[in-house]
């Protein structure tokens, strides 16, 4: 069996995210990292492989993004993926969520995976939805925010929190599952794995190689245009206390609460 894991390169969490006013798109310069939520998807794939209920022959990391996105793939491989696929093409730039999901599904379709895993959200895009788009194009069942997976024959029994409490859903393979960050504690890559990551096979695909209809991707192929950015209504900034001396800090908190009759 084959598991494909979707991974994405995102701005480092410590770096302030911003919109580039000249392009109206997110400024993606500066420090980048593998989307932390995707490390849980890779770990979930590794645990399925090591668990032995499914015969997993291969874990393939897949990303769509500019040249720099290979770093996310190297990281994914150092965490356990056997090889990786980099979908990259100028025509893909500016794709909206639906177009991105379509493009990723095209690349995934060629791999014929038994399971596609992805993270609960991208740290920058925050749409929580690529999985559902990908699943629709692949004609696979899907579930998001899964925090427990148990293999039961040809199906995976998944648990997740939805609107009314915990739901248990049995999903037949092949399927697309996005995992919540509570599903596991990702391992750290070994030094050897980090060093060896660049030697694992990495395939670069252009849009045509993935069989993508280019009229359906990029800014022109996207059905939604985002822009006209503006600042949200300003809320008065709160007061900040740096805790240098805890007794004094606590005194200030109590005084603040007392002033507002909250104690």
């Amino acid at each position: 069996m084959k598991i494909c894991v979707l991974v994405k390169e995102v701005p480092d969490a410590a770096v302030t995210k911003r919109i580039d006013p000249s392009t109206g798109r997110m400024d993606r310069s500066g420090e980048k990292n593998l989307n932390p939520y995707d490390t849980h998807a890779i770990e979930a794939a590794m645990q399925l492989k090591e668990g032995g209920e499914l015969q997993i022959d291969e874990i393939v990391a897949v990303t769509m993004g500019p040249e720099s996105a290979v770093r996310a793939l190297h990281k994914a491989v150092s965490l356990g993926a056997d090889r990786s696929i980099h979908l990259t093409d100028p025509v893909l730039a500016g794709s909206d969520v639906a177009a991105t999901g379509y493009a990723l599904a095209s690349a995934l379709g060629q791999e014929e995976p038994d399971l596609v895993l992805l993270g609960q959200q991208s740290d920058d895009g925050e749409c929580y939805t690529i999985g559902a788009v990908v699943a629709e194009h692949l004609g696979m069942p899907s579930l998001t925010q899964v925090v427990k997976m148990d293999v039961t024959g040809e199906a995976v029994r998944c648990e997740r929190q939805a609107e009314y409490g915990y739901d248990t859903v049995e999903v037949r393979l092949p399927a697309v599952i996005s995992v919540g960050d509570a599903i596991n504690e990702p391992r750290y890559p070994s030094l050897k794995a980090i060093m060896g990551a660049k030697k694992k096979p990495l395939q670069t695909l252009a849009a045509v190689d993935a069989g993508i209809d280019t009229s359906m991707v990029g800014a022109d192929g996207s059905q939604v245009r985002c822009g006209e950015f503006r600042a949200p209504p300003q809320k008065a900034a709160g007061q900040i206390i740096e805790d240098d001396d805890t007794n004094a800090t606590v005194g200030k908190i109590v005084a603040w609460l007392d002033e507002r009759k909250l104690i």
Partner: protein
């Protein structure tokens, strides 16, 4: 003129409050374009009389289909069919997990544009434009759709209002897609852990992953006791999923929405999905060791420091103050 189809999530004889808000909003928007708002319900033997109550929130028709509840793909099957057969241009969802999934799937099926976490919708030249806060709510962007648009609201973004109307209930049958047939819901809405009540509390002491482990909640229980009176302990999804605290005490997107007089967070980053459940609190105090934590963006009092040092002393000081 544009018609809008709104998904109404159903559970045990009632419709989700966020879905009702979306119907009210959809009816307002449709009227502004000169079109109509219709609702969709998918479930098992939902009585027509119950479905018709959606008219009170502004739905002209309610398209009712038999199907499993709690899964998105059956909803996509029904909504795609209704939208195509009736030439509906827009779909609207209240905040919620199934809505995110169904909205995304529908966008893929119909080749529509989709926007998540929408906090406002306006009409311009008969078209809908969705407004979405992005980048940790530091900016708002507007989405314009080329043709069909799918709008998924943020939790609590739209308020439900009754208007006294009643809806015509239309039964629809949609062939399940092969993918929908391959997921089965085994159980829905399981409550895990003790039954804590956070909705009635005047003061909430909330804990997150920064507590380090389940025992960390002991610190907060003591702090809550020091506050006394109507105080309860609440939590984030991260720690509920980890089994540190009961689900009934969770605030946020897939938990409770609260608005206490005082909300005090310890070791909580302030993710959007948590924020949507508590941002209406009257006074927000946060203790977090990371000065860049998003929660400081919407706190009235932010304390940058280690909760393990601060909380025990704060408990003592509050107990002493109240004892005095």
């Amino acid at each position: 003129m544009a018609d809008i189809l709104i998904y109404a999530l159903h559970h045990e004889g009632t419709f989700n409050k966020n879905s009702l808000g979306a119907i009210t909003e959809g009816a307002r928007l449709a009227a502004e374009t000169g079109g109509q708002a219709h609702a969709v319900v998918v479930g098992q033997e939902i009585p027509d009389a119950l479905a018709a109550t959606l008219g009170d929130y502004g739905a002209a028709k309610v398209f009712k289909a038999e199907g499993p509840e709690g899964l998105a793909q059956p909803v996509v099957d029904v909504m795609a069919q209704v939208m195509e057969e009736n030439g509906v241009q827009y779909a609207l969802f209240g905040g919620g997990l199934v809505g995110f999934e169904a909205g995304a799937g529908l966008a893929a099926r119909l080749r529509a544009g989709v926007t998540m976490e929408v906090t406002g919708v306006i009409v311009e030249d008969g078209k809908l434009i969705a407004q979405r806060p992005i980048l940790g709510d530091s900016a708002i962007s507007q989405s314009r759709y080329r043709d069909k648009g799918i709008i998924v609201g943020r939790l609590n973004a739209f308020e439900a209002k009754t208007s006294g109307g009643s809806a015509e209930v239309v039964a629809v049958e949609a062939e399940p897609s092969p993918q929908a047939a391959r997921a089965v819901i085994v159980s829905r809405g399981e409550q895990r852990g003790a039954d804590v009540d956070i909705e009635g509390a005047g003061t909430l002491v909330a804990g997150g992953r920064g507590l380090g482990n389940a025992d960390g909640f002991g610190l907060l229980e003591e702090l809550a006791r020091a506050f006394g009176g109507n105080t309860a302990v609440a939590a984030t999804r991260a720690v509920v999923d980890a089994g540190w605290y009961p689900y009934a005490g969770q605030i946020g997107q897939t938990g409770k929405t609260v608005a206490p007089k005082l909300y005090l967070a310890a070791g909580i980053s302030g993710a959007i999905q948590h924020k949507v459940g508590m941002q209406s609190s009257e006074n927000i105090v946060a203790i977090n060791k990371d000065a860049n934590a998003p929660i400081f963006e919407f706190s009235d009092l932010g304390v940058v420091g280690d909760l393990n040092k601060i909380v025990p002393k704060l408990t003592e000081a509050i107990a002493a103050k109240r004892g005095a």
